[in-house]
């Protein structure tokens, strides 16, 4: 049966067909749907882990126990999981283990565009790179065979364009691989990586890599597509599709396995063509390896090092480099449509993070941020976040700034899921080493940014089972935080008073602002639009400083000041009442009751 699948759906299908039993992940765009899809298949266990390192450890445990397993994550997740990924390479496993990295060339939803093929080389782990959904499924199955044949984890490297594009996939059946053992291995020489055991493992890992490189020479995923030999192209992943759009007839070496590389195959191909180029997204990973073989090759001299490729970019670069004639250029219109209003991402109407950022902006304090919906607190008009680096960074960055002697009061903001992810160790550090920072944990009862995934605070697992909902305030108190308060996230005044009180302390404190994400079904059930009483509103615009999409400028002008009055879009307003609290004239009230 043929189905149109996204790359993520295809990977999930491949995992199921390969007989995977256990999978673990932390949500992260563009990888999230892999586990969501996999979790729906029968006979599998899938879980949201607290972070990517935990996810990889979980998958390793399952593979040690003799069952096929995978962990999936966005590219920066592999930074978090790197420690586990590296030791898994050293030990190998009893059953197949695949680590999926979803890289984000172009940074559609990420803080960087690191090329994780380098991780494969770093860890001496094979890397497979599909170029469409069918290959995503096929290579997921092949990755498990490769993993078991060579006793190695395998890195399946996807990119946003593979994850989130859809094409035809031929479905197969699930194959239950034989269970290698029923008893957990007692094999310290292989699995206890103390120096005395690790030293003899290192040469084994290097020999394994040489054996995989030999396998790569004849691997079905590395193939020469014969063609016009005046130009030879080496390419991989989605770049293969762009290369074929632009150079349909050129000789081409398609590498499905981009680490380790097939040296003889590359030499054979290079010898058969007049001019050799590499078309690859991001780093010159293949190009540098080819150059190390002493083969003249061009790549990043022609094609960009930065950003996502597409066929237009490849074509334009090829024309500039003389690989194609000027006549190959596709004309592009240059109709003047400017200026069009921008449509920046904003906190949703009713977002429980809005009131906190309004107060933080008012207090004019340095706010050290983190990754989640609340990242949007930096966007004008709230403009209340001053750093954002990676998951869990804000708390320790605030601590470091305080220890540096900066006299201001530092506020760290972090979400509930991110607190469980990497916020916890940072907060323990704050307690241990004592700095007077205020940590605001914005608990919206869900992992919001990636599309409402469950987490340790929600009381439910990925596969819908009830779970103990971990309460944040008792956890924080148990760590030794003396000053902790949970406040309703829509209570602007209470948030302001609590923050002001905490900022007087010379000890660490934690404010938890709690309210379910306004888009959750239980929150939607209570939506209730507010109304501006235009007789009272004098157009002071204070409510517009909240940056709420539901608050508009009315056509009606205030008689005294000639300023446009505020107007609330009833189709967008959820009735969170943050604007009503901010309004100095109490002009915003519930629609039903009128002005009270």
């Amino acid at each position: 049966m043929i189905r149109i699948f996204s790359g993520n759906e295809a990977v999930a299908r491949g995992a199921w067909e390969a007989g995977v039993v256990v999978a673990s992940a932390y949500p992260g765009t563009p990888s999230t749907e892999i586990l969501e899809e996999f979790a729906r298949y029968p006979g599998v266990y899938a879980e949201w882990a607290t972070n990517e390192k935990v996810a990889v450890d979980v998958a390793i445990g399952a593979a040690y126990a003799g069952r096929r397993a995978f962990a999936s994550m966005k590219h920066v997740g592999l930074n978090v999981a790197a420690d586990a990924f590296m030791y898994a390479s050293m030990t190998g496993m009893e059953a197949g283990l695949v680590i999926i990295t979803a890289d984000d060339p172009g940074m559609h939803s990420s803080q960087n565009e690191q090329d994780n093929r380098t991780f494969a080389k770093f860890a001496r782990v094979p890397c497979l790179e599909p170029s469409d959904s069918q290959e995503a499924k096929t290579m997921m199955v092949a990755a498990f065979e490769l993993s078991e044949r060579f006793d190695t984890p395998v890195l399946l490297r996807l990119t946003t364009r593979i994850c989130h594009s859809a094409s035809a996939v031929e479905l197969g059946e699930r194959v239950e691989p034989p269970v290698k053992q029923t008893r957990f291995p007692r094999n310290p020489a292989k699995y206890v990586m103390v120096p005395g055991n690790a030293r003899p493992r290192h040469p084994i890992i290097e020999q394994r890599q040489a054996a995989v490189a030999e396998f790569a020479e004849t691997c079905v995923h590395n193939r020469i597509e014969p063609g016009d030999t005046r130009l030879g192209i080496i390419t991989s992943g989605i770049a293969y599709q762009y290369a074929r759009e632009v150079f349909p007839k050129a000789a081409l070496l398609k590498l499905g396995m981009t680490w380790p590389l097939p040296e003889r195959l590359i030499r054979q191909f290079a010898a058969s063509v007049e001019r050799l180029i590499v078309i690859e997204e991001l780093d010159p990973f293949i190009e540098e390896a080819v150059r190390l073989l002493g083969i003249p090759v061009e790549g990043k001299r022609i094609f960009p090092l930065v950003g996502e490729l597409d066929q237009r970019t490849v074509r334009e670069c090829a024309i500039s480099a003389g690989l194609l004639p000027e006549s190959a250029r596709v004309p592009v219109l240059a109709i003047d449509t400017d200026p069009l209003p921008a449509r920046p991402p904003v906190l949703c109407p009713g977002c429980p993070h809005r009131g906190v950022f309004y107060v933080l902006g008012k207090l004019k304090v340095p706010v050290l941020g983190d990754i989640g919906c609340y990242s949007l607190g930096f966007v004008p008009p709230l403009s209340a976040m001053h750093t954002l680096g990676c998951m869990g960074a804000g708390i320790a960055v605030a601590h470091g700034a305080a220890k540096a002697g900066n006299p201001e009061h530092h506020i760290a903001v972090i979400g509930d899921s991110t607190f469980f992810h990497t916020g916890l160790p940072a907060l323990v550090n704050v307690v241990y080493n004592q700095s007077p920072i205020v940590t605001v944990i914005m608990d919206n009862r869900v992992t919001g940014m990636t599309g409402h995934q469950d987490n340790p605070g929600t009381g439910r697992t990925l596969q819908g089972k009830a779970a103990p909902a971990i309460e944040i305030e008792p956890v924080v108190r148990a760590l030794g935080i003396q000053h902790a308060r949970t406040v309703a996230a829509y209570d602007v005044d209470e948030i302001e008073q609590t923050l002001k009180a905490f900022m007087q302390l010379d000890q660490p404190s934690v404010l938890i602002t709690r309210e379910p994400c306004a888009l959750l079904p239980e929150a939607r059930a209570h939506w209730h639009a507010l109304e501006v009483n235009s007789e009272i509103c004098n157009g002071c615009r204070l409510c517009l400083r909240l940056g709420c999409p539901a608050i508009l400028k009315s056509d009606e002008l205030d008689g005294r000041y000639g300023r446009p009055k505020a107007l609330i879009d009833a189709t967008l307003c959820t009735g969170c009442e943050v604007c009503a609290q901010v309004c100095p004239r109490e002009a915003i009230t519930e629609r039903e009751t009128g002005n009270g």
């Binding site: 149109i4 859809a166 597409d310 066929q311 237009r312 069009l340 209003p341």
Partner: protein, 205 residues
């Protein structure tokens, strides 16, 4: 049909562009073409622009459409219609939904929303093969504003037939099969009516 048909869908998160592109790629497959689709939705859940590429053809490689190579344009919102206009091939087929969704930059008074005259004048510089469809009005008349996307698909199918981009190999029923497969059963009937109403809007132009 020509060798390749490139569709660009542009709208706002929540307007049903993703369902529409999902239907479109599957209609292509059912009609016997190779078909690919690419979503660009980054942070669109928070009110940003959404773009989807769908390609049908004898042999499709890239899931993306190169700038200047869009054959068929389905714009769900007026500003988004203008925003992506330069992606089109001159003379491309276009269905433009008469629907304004003001971004926060407009509601807060920083920028202004272009008027309909400017929209039509600008689009006419690119193509005269364009149909303006009152998607929200038609969907509201059917009693379900959320069927706006299916109204537009109906209009698109009829316009493609009228302009000869698809022939008898692709019957309206195939579209309806793909649409009803993707909506809850209780909404199948209203979506069928929405598709027909969209086709009717083209017939009456």
């Amino acid at each position: 049909m020509q060798d390749t048909l490139n569709f660009l869908l542009a709208g706002i998160g929540g307007q049903g562009t993703i369902l529409a592109s999902d239907v479109l790629v599957n209609v292509g497959l059912a009609a016997g073409y190779q078909a690919k689709q690419a979503e660009v939705h980054g942070m669109s859940q928070r009110g940003g622009s959404v773009i989807s590429h769908v390609r049908w053809g004898q042999a499709i490689r890239s899931p993306l459409i190169g700038a200047g190579e869009v054959d068929v344009y389905l714009a769900f919102e007026k500003v988004e219609a203008l925003r992506n206009l330069n992606q089109l091939r001159r003379g491309a087929l276009a269905v433009i939904n008469i629907h304004a969704i003001a971004p926060v930059t407009v509601t807060s008074g920083i920028q202004s929303y272009p008027d309909d005259d400017r929209l039509r004048a600008t689009v006419s510089q690119v193509t005269d093969r364009v149909a303006y469809v009152d998607g929200p009005g038609i969907a509201a008349a059917l009693g379900n504003i959320r069927t706006e996307n299916v109204v537009l698909l109906g209009a698109l199918s009829a316009l493609m037939e009228r302009e000869g981009l698809i022939g008898s190999e692709l019957l309206p029923d195939e579209w309806i099969v793909q649409i009803t497969a993707r909506v809850p059963g209780r909404y199948a009937a209203v979506n069928r009516r929405a598709f027909e109403a969209g086709r009717g809007a083209i017939a009456s132009l």
